[in-house]
């Protein structure tokens, strides 16, 4: 290789015949190297991703509001798993607390996304009922963020997960404006749009998303929509589920059981 390389560099004084000869020798070698080496590397890594076929999956998440205790472990695990900046204005998932008084509007809060739990000091007898609602990207089938992205950096994968190609995103933030759920933020250092991926790096290996794995009450259910016996199919069958802001026709793949009309 090195000899050939040296020959190739010595263009001065090389006639056409020599040059073509050099090309004929080096190009096939190079093509072989580029074709074989990545495959060898991939085989060495033994990545199960290779066997992953997105067209065979259709993911969804369901959230049982009755089960959520607002511990915030899901939001915390998400930040750890996905290197989400720790500042309280960047979240891939967060938990909202709803306190509905006997009369009047519900009061909603989400201090640090619920990661540190919820303060109880103003928990008074005027509260009619209270509940927690975990929020995340709804992975809409008819996603406004996908529609508006000017370069197609945000796209829906064949398995139904809405993803952002961070090497392609121009950082215009139109998707952030178009998302009705406030599920996106601009990554402060990478300067690209970021949001929940259902922990794509995990689910493609057959593992559950981090938030689902750490939830102590199984308030989050994740799985395949197509399979009759999958946990999510069972959940959908035995619960009255709804989606957020259904009137916007975004067709979310995150379903809620027990969501009051206050939830939006």
């Amino acid at each position: 290789m090195n000899e050939q390389h040296g020959q190739k560099c010595d263009f001065v004084g090389m006639d056409r015949r020599d040059f073509l000869g050099a090309v004929a020798r080096t190009v096939p070698t190079w093509l072989m190297v580029t074709a074989i080496v990545p495959e060898l590397l991939a085989a060495e890594a033994g990545s199960p991703d290779e066997k992953y076929r997105p067209e065979e999956h259709r993911y969804a998440m369901a959230i049982n509001i009755h089960k959520c205790i607002g511990c915030g472990r899901c939001a915390d695990a998400c930040k750890t798993e996905n290197n989400v900046p720790r500042e309280p204005v960047f979240f891939r998932t967060w938990i909202e607390r709803y306190r509905v008084p006997f009369e009047g509007e519900a009061v909603v809060d989400s201090p640090n996304g619920g990661i540190d739990g919820f303060p109880t000091e103003d928990h008074d007898s005027g509260t009619f009922k209270a509940f927690f609602v975990p929020k995340l990207c709804n992975h809409c089938s008819n996603a406004p963020c996908v529609q508006v992205c000017p370069v197609g950096a945000t796209f829906t994968s064949q398995d139904g997960v809405v993803l952002v190609d961070k090497d392609y995103c121009v950082g215009c933030r139109y998707c952030i404006q178009a998302c009705p759920y406030g599920a996106r933020y601009l990554h402060p250092t990478e300067k690209v749009a970021d949001k929940c991926t259902f922990c794509y790096h995990r689910i493609t290996k057959g593992q559950p998303p981090a938030c689902v794995e750490v939830c102590p009450t199984q308030a989050r259910v994740f799985g395949e929509m197509g399979e009759q016996a999958s946990p999510i199919s069972r959940f959908m069958r035995f619960n009255d589920v709804t989606v957020l802001k259904s009137w916007l026709n975004t067709d979310p793949r995150v379903y809620y059981a027990g969501a009051d009309e206050e939830v939006r």
């Binding site: 309280p88 204005v89 960047f90 979240f91 967060w94 909202e96 509007e105 009061v107 909603v108 809060d109 989400s110 640090n112 996304g113 929020k135 406004p144 996908v146 529609q147 508006v148 992205c149 000017p150 370069v151 197609g152 392609y168 995103c169 121009v170 950082g171 215009c172 933030r173 139109y174 952030i176 404006q177 178009a178 998302c179 009705p180 759920y181 406030g182 599920a183 996106r184 933020y185 601009l186 990478e190 300067k191 690209v192 916007l248 939006r264």
Partner: protein
């Protein structure tokens, strides 16, 4: 012109939130630069539509501002994409919007609408309009200027009657194409906002139309300002029929624009959807100064009354000019406030419809007040240079070196 609003925001403490915002909504994503962008494109579209009034609709009184309007439109158009570029998280990837556009995206069309407007409409029209002069200047000027004008002729140096007639015809056809293009340019900017269904403040079918008419208002007011100030600076008398006509058009345009905005407002109020509570709260608190005071009272009602009195009442010309100037200035404040209220207003409330945040305008950052001011001053510098290279003045023979007859009469005769 945005100083009052800027100061208002600047002296506000850290972004304070009332009610509940989704955590990712605390910080505004579209800054003052995205306010500047529709403001600049609005001026482009408005100035061009004004120019087309003279050219296509034969409003001869506007002849003194015809070429000035074209040059102004071009100066502002050249700067218009810069606020967008400066705002991108990855400006180095900006060209991807041209090279690999996502056709479902309204924003991806920006490049094409912009390129069409710049290349096909403005540059061509200006070139055809100035061609005969460019050819003459190429012959008469010396040194670098000679080269510059020779290059500008693009090798087309024919000055025969037939060639000139063709220039005129081509210019007219381009203007006719240009009117819908100008509508497209700014209607499209309105669509970028109006089509966001997630945002009840933006989502309105009237948005492109309101943008368009406010663009016409801002463009006419800008030309009134540029014409009057440039005449004063050049120590020329102001052509009263021209400014009267401008004031008249401005008056009507404001009337239409205000009616449309009122219609939008009344419709929202009457429909009273679930967003109405948070939006009313926003108008009466966060947007009070920029919407009620700046946009409606100072930017619309006061100029409307002033223009009405000055145009249709009896008063000395001196007084008239003063009122026109003040009205045009106020209209600029008002239109900037309009853009502010759309862009910033649309991000001050939570999409949970439960809370309001504040916009903290930074001073010196890339998306700060200084950048915005620089971007709004730059078109005037470009315009100044352009008026030196391509003098648009109709009565200023001494500025234009050779033409034996002022071009003005020719255009007037042909039109």
């Amino acid at each position: 012109m945005n100083i009052a609003m800027a100061l208002q925001s600047f002296f506000t403490e850290l972004p304070s939130v009332t009610g509940y915002m989704y955590p990712n909504e605390y910080e505004l994503h579209w800054s003052v630069l995205i306010v500047v962008y529709p403001y600049l494109t609005g001026l482009v579209a408005g100035a061009f539509i004004l120019a087309s009034l003279e050219r296509v609709f034969n409003v001869k009184a506007l002849q003194p501002v015809y070429r000035l309007s074209l040059l102004t439109a071009l100066s502002f158009l050249l700067i218009a994409p810069l606020p967008l570029l400066a705002h991108l998280g990855h400006p180095e990837r900006a060209l991807e919007m041209f090279l690999t556009p996502h056709t479902a995206s309204a924003m991806a069309m920006f490049g094409f609408v912009y390129a069409w407007y710049l290349m096909v409409v403005l540059l061509l029209e200006i070139w055809f309009d100035y061609r005969q002069h460019i050819v003459r200047w190429a012959k008469e000027k010396k040194g670098a200027l000679k080269w510059f004008y020779s290059l500008l002729t693009l090798g087309s140096t024919d000055l025969s009657e037939k060639a000139l007639a063709f220039d005129n015809k081509a210019g007219k056809i381009i203007t006719i194409i240009g009117i819908p293009s100008a509508f497209l340019l700014h209607g499209y900017v309105g669509f970028i906002f109006g089509s966001v269904k997630a945002n009840p403040w933006w989502s309105s079918v009237l948005m492109p139309i309101v943008f368009l008419f406010s663009a016409i208002v801002s463009g006419i007011a800008l030309m009134l300002l540029v014409y009057m100030v440039s005449s004063m600076l050049r120590w020329k008398t102001i052509n009263m029929p021209c400014v009267n006509k401008l004031a008249e058009f401005l008056f009507y345009a404001i009337l239409v624009d205000f009616s449309l905005e009122l219609l939008d407002f009344i419709q929202r109020l009457y429909e009273s959807e679930e967003s109405i509570h948070i939006l009313s709260q926003m108008i009466s608190s966060r947007l009070f100064i920029s919407l009620i005071i700046s946009q409606i009272i100072l930017g619309t009602i006061v100029p409307l009354v002033g223009l009405g009195l000055a145009r249709f009442g009896r008063m000395p010309d001196e007084m008239r000019r003063m009122i026109y100037l003040m009205a045009a200035l106020l209209v600029q404040v008002g239109i900037f406030a309009t853009r502010w209220n759309v862009v910033i207003g649309g991000q001050l409330f939570s999409k949970s419809l439960r809370g309001l945040t504040t916009y903290k305008l930074e001073m010196f950052g890339i998306e700060g007040l200084m950048t915005a001011i620089i971007l709004m001053v730059m078109p005037f510098i470009i315009l100044f240079v352009m008026t030196k290279l391509l003098p648009p003045w109709s009565e200023g023979e001494k500025d234009i070196p050779v033409p034996p007859k002022p071009h003005a009469t020719q255009v007037g005769q042909e039109a």
